[in-house]
Amino acid sequence: MDSYEIRLCGTGGQGLILAGRILADAVVREGRWVAQSQAFEPLSRGGVSQADLVISSSMVDFPLVSDLDFLLVLDELAVAGTHELLTPASSILLDSERVATDVLDACRPIRLPLVETARTLGNLRAANMVALGALVALTDVCQRDSLEAAMLRVSPKGFQQINQRAIEVGCGLGAESKQPA
């Protein structure tokens, strides 16, 4: 199978569905096919929220994820629904502040201060973009340029400057964590 499966999850209000939308847009612009789905709860804030992507070099047959290649978790609440989608080859990125549980430790997750970085940048809601920056540095999903261009097309005008900075810092965090120990 030539597909690549990603889940971005956390709680409602963290901008995960917007992040999925931006990442999907970046990948389509690079010429690949994407199916992006989501799940959320009927709450204005909170509850589990997730955005899934299936990326392929040809038309996607079944558009929902089944074996994740990459999992991002921004809130511990979302961990429970991910176990059956993980394989020994799955890469996992956890927020070091919001995900305290060790249940995924067997999968050797990377822990990065995504939320804390966003707070330092001046807006907690940019944690989703810090995470996307880290994801792009850690994987070959798309080029950073494509991600930034997609962010500028999709995200609200008032957030573009901080989102740009968040992607940049996130990329740095991802690249550092990729260095061999």
Partner: protein, 385 residues
């Protein structure tokens, strides 16, 4: 969902959300009136059309409720405008009264139902396929209706266009029925260029024709439809009416008119019937599935074939009237049929009616708000094989 449609890439492919594709298709199909009341998971259709319809010279109205929305759609259509509404389960229930009126008065209209879990408020943000029978039999009395069920974002676009064409050709309400998964799915699609979509015009009588009989029989069972204001004398009612449009209680007239109304779709089977098959030529196990479940089934069939199981897929695109003959032909050569659905068992009843004489019909149902995975269908095929 901000900006649920991306700009086109160099190769003409775009990332589009299912509900956004529905809205764009409606405009391309010539829809110029939408009345509705927002409801998850269909709201993006209304949201998008509130911006797109005025730009196309059309009208968008957010009504006070679903009952009034459906009434407004019928009024617009009687005025000669292609009209639609969009909703989900609870709203679909409320629209049923006027969907029946559209059937009786033969008013073309399109109703989109993006299915969520039910009954009642149910699971507003989670998918189901539990309105299959409501789409066919939701309103009271015998009535004609067409139901189309797309399985991808690309197909939502195509089937929404087709819904308008069928509504105009047959003077019936047409339901576009899909689950929350494909409604909220963003997929890479190639949409036709504006103005290149083939459209069906409503059959109209010459204006000011003194001898016009509004509900007279025709060779294809569909009378021409006069537009209010064009000078033809017409009377519209939900009461059973004679060829002149006025209420009647004469049994021979009732029988004649109602048989025409109920049988008119039979004249248009080639236009209405649509389905897709995959790997069915030598299939011993046939999966009958629609919507997102059909895409899980397609993968399951491929994986089953890899394991030496002779499985195939029959996917109705037109759900009602159900493509009876093509499925019967397949069933006659199969050992067993499997019907996976995100409900407690609805389309399986139709499949059992059609195919029980040929072999066993098995069910696979999921009602927990989660879609059926390819692995679950594969597992059943392995047990059946």
């Amino acid at each position: 969902m901000p900006n649920a449609t991306s700009a086109s890439t160099q190769n003409g492919r775009r990332l589009v959300q299912g509900n956004a594709a529905c809205a764009h298709a409606a405009v391309a199909a010539g829809c110029r009136f939408f009345a509705g009341y927002p409801i998850t998971p269909s709201s993006e259709i209304a949201e998008r059309l509130s911006g797109e319809l005025p730009k196309a010279g059309g009208v968008f109205v957010q009504m006070e409720d679903e009952i009034a929305s459906m009434g407004a759609v019928l009024g617009a259509s009687l005025g000669g405008v292609k009209a639609m509404t969009a909703t989900s389960g609870p709203g679909f229930s409320l629209k049923q009264e006027h969907i029946g009126y559209a059937g009786m008065a033969e008013i073309p209209c399109v109703v989109v139902n993006v299915m969520r879990g039910g009954p009642s408020t149910g699971l507003p943000t989670r998918p189901s396929q539990a309105d299959v029978m409501q789409a066919r039999w939701g309103t009271h009395g015998d009535h004609p209706i067409i139901v189309l069920t797309p399985a991808s974002v690309q197909e939502i676009y195509e089937q929404t266009v087709r819904a308008f064409n069928l509504a105009e050709a047959c003077r019936v309400p047409v339901v576009v029925l899909y689950d929350e998964v494909v409604g909220h799915l963003l997929e890479t699609v190639t949409l036709p260029a504006p103005g290149t979509v083939a459209l069906t015009a409503r059959k109209a009588p010459p204006p000011n024709e003194a001898a016009f009989v509004p509900f007279a029989d025709t060779p294809d069972g569909v009378p021409p439809m006069a537009r209010f204001g064009d000078g033809n004398r017409i009377h519209t009612t939900g009461l059973v009416h004679g060829e002149d449009g006025f209420p009647t209680q004469a049994p021979e007239v009732i029988d004649r008119v109602m048989r025409r109304v109920l049988n008119k779709l039979d004249h248009h089977v080639e236009l209405i019937e649509s389905y897709e098959t995959h790997a069915v030529d030598d299939a011993e196990l046939v999966v009958v599935a629609y919507g997102i479940t059909a895409r899980a089934a397609r993968r399951a069939v491929r994986l089953a074939r890899d394991r030496g199981i002779k499985a195939g897929l029959f996917r109705p695109v037109t759900l009602w009237p159900f493509p009876e003959r093509p499925l019967r032909d397949l069933a006659a050569h199969a050992k067993a049929i499997l019907v996976p659905e995100m409900n407690a068992g609805q389309l399986c009843l139709e499949v059992e009616r059609l195919c029980a004489a040929y072999g066993s019909v098995e069910r696979l149902n999921r009602i927990d708000g989660e879609p059926i995975a390819p692995a679950a269908i594969l597992q059943r095929l392995e047990q059946m094989g």
